[in-house]
Amino acid sequence: MAALPRRIIKETQRLMQEPVPGISAVPDESNARYFHVIVTGPEDSPFEGGLFKLELFLPEDYPMSAPKVRFITKIYHPNIDRLGRICLDILKEKWSPALQIRTVLLSIQALLSAPNPDDPLANDVAELWKENESEAIRNAKEWTRRYAMDN
């Protein structure tokens, strides 16, 4: 494998030295492009109190291409599907090489605080979120308790 670009080394160092509050990202022992990520559910959101595991992979042409990020912990959210894939503009068409791992993870954390049911990925969840928000929030809390707390 080719040497790790300076950019990735720098970003990893900074993530370790100045971690983002509520987010931990640790590179895999055998692959420096693969990160084990844990995001804590934001306060005043239905995900509060939960610890959500994600995986983050930096592709060969990173930072020219966006990192690939996926939730491993099950989560009830209109922009995250049952496979954990995330609908977030900066991971797709709005990606800029000037963005970083930390900005991506912050955006994901912000998405947990502010779900966007008008631009859904998980259709049934988005439907309920629009039609009956309180029931959707109840479901999200229930899923958080069931899947994101006991570890």
């Binding site: 800029s96 090489p97 000037a98 963005l99």
Partner: protein
């Protein structure tokens, strides 16, 4: 005065080199005497277009770019971005630019929405924010937005974008920056990468052609021809290279008299419903007189039973005699006048019946077209034999091919009259349309009958029939082709 002028022109004529008279000039002069007739009034399908090669289109685009760049005194590269943003409408660009140059440049994403902060360099070395590598300041480049990145990062950024098929839409690397990278900036950073450079030029050319309303790629497989016409209408274009015939506006199979939206609706409907329709419209029918099973193996709908010699119409199974001279009604769908009072179920059945009526005829003419192609092949063989055995020359038999081609052209239009009629509102206009359609259908079947029996048909008779069929076709298009 007049006489002296006449004398002058006489002199000019006799002055012509060695008394040689230029016949081209002669005919051109004659032409200019005749009042110019709008060709679309004679032929409703008249379409003025050119088939161009990629090189010719490149030249055409470059001329447009150059003239704009000269008129506005901007670089050709910027002129290109401006033109592309306005669908290659030079006048629109000039108008907008003269009105408000700054806003036009922002709108075309050449300049950022707000002027950038000026960059202050405190040292000759700089760290690129993308690759975090410190390099000499002369290795750094930026667009009008002043976001600076090192040369290598620009190169990789362009490579990644181009490998995803992006060309005209490549933007600056900075977060949320929408400023576009013009062609010369991209090419400058790819000067050492031949294959990616070629890819970029290929993609960007495709983008330009697709955005240009007067240009259309020939939809034929592996054909590189581009059709150019200043008349942006649903007209018939024929590619000179691969012979593909298509609608200039939508790029699909030519579909007059039906318009682009309606034919799309019809084809989608057919794709959804064709299973039922196929099931119902079988490939064989029984002779209405002796009930022997008949498979249709020719294009003509005038059938003659092999068994009992009964002449009948394949579509309506009626006696052919009533089709010939009298009012031909087979193409008309008779709607049930009491349909509004019927149950929902009956209405659904009626809707299906109506659709099937049109679909069967549409499908039948499409099949006939294919069968008549086979007839033409057989005809070619027979004529070949005749010519070989000394019965006339190729030229003598040429009129048969002309007849077969005209038949195909007429039947093609007839096929596309069915979706048109299906979506037409009931009323006098539809009645007129279906009357003309019936007339056309009758003449086409007569022509098909005569073409299939070409050698035994009198040539004059056949040519007369050709003329009638084509006249019917043109009349229908003149009245109903609205593009």
């Amino acid at each position: 005065m007049a006489t002296s002028q006449d004398a002058d022109s006489d002199m000019e004529c006799s002055d012509n080199e060695d008394g040689y008279y230029d016949y081209n000039d002669y005919y051109n002069d004659e032409d200019s005497d005749i009042e110019r007739i709008d060709p679309t009034r004679v032929d409703p399908e008249y379409f003025d277009y050119k088939c161009l090669s990629e090189e010719e289109v490149e030249r055409l685009l470059n001329e447009t770019v150059e003239s704009l760049s000269n008129r506005l005194i901007i670089s050709p590269s910027l002129a290109k971005v401006l033109l592309h943003s306005q669908h290659w409408n030079t006048n629109e660009v000039i108008h907008k630019y003269k009105e408000n140059p700054q806003q036009t440049l922002i709108g075309a994403r050449i300049n950022p929405p707000s002027p950038p902060k000026s960059i202050l360099f405190t040292s000759t070395y700089l760290a690129c924010s993308v690759c975090i590598t410190t390099q000499n300041i002369d290795k750094f480049f930026h667009l009008s937005c002043a976001h600076i990145f090192c040369r290598e990062c620009w190169t990789t950024h362009f490579e990644v974008q181009i490998s995803q098929g992006i060309s005209t839409a490549i933007s600056c690397m900075a977060k949320d920056c929408i400023v576009l990278a013009p062609e010369d900036f991209v090419l400058k950073h790819l000067h050492h990468k031949t294959s990616i450079r070629e890819k970029y030029q290929h993609f960007i050319f495709q983008d330009y052609v697709k955005a240009h309303p007067e240009l259309r790629f020939c939809p034929g497989p592996n054909c590189s021809i581009i059709i150019h016409s200043s008349e942006i209408k649903a007209k018939r274009a024929v590619c000179t290279q691969c012979k593909t015939i298509f609608c200039f506006r939508c790029g699909c199979d030519y579909h007059a008299p039906t318009d682009c939206q309606v034919i799309k609706k019809w084809l989608t409907k057919c794709a959804d419903d064709s299973e039922t329709a196929n099931y119902i419209s079988a490939h064989t029918k029984d002779c209405p007189k002796c009930h022997i099973c008949i498979e249709k193996n020719g294009g003509c709908n005038h059938m003659q039973c092999y068994n009992c010699k009964h002449d009948f119409c394949w579509m309506c199974l009626g006696d052919w005699k009533s089709h010939g001279s009298e009012y031909y009604e087979c193409s008309r769908y008779r709607e049930n006048p009491n349909i509004a009072h019927e149950s929902v179920h009956a209405q659904a059945r009626e809707a299906l019946k109506k659709y099937l009526h049109y679909y069967e005829r549409w499908e039948n003419h499409s099949k006939s077209l294919k069968l008549e192609e086979q007839t033409l092949e057989k005809l070619r063989d027979r004529i070949n034999q005749k010519v070989m055995s000394g019965l006339g020359t190729w030229i003598d038999w040429q009129y048969l091919f002309t007849a077969a081609n005209l038949l195909a052209k007429c039947r093609y239009t007839l096929q596309y009259t069915y979706p048109f009629a299906y979506y037409m509102d009931a009323g006098p206009r539809k009645e007129l349309f279906e009357y003309q359609q019936a007339q056309l259908e009758a003449e086409i079947e007569n022509l098909s009958w005569k073409v299939e029996r070409a050698e035994t048909t009198d040539r004059g008779d056949l040519e007369n029939q050709m003329d009638i069929a084509e006249k019917r076709r043109t009349t229908l298009l003149k009245d109903f082709l609205d593009v």
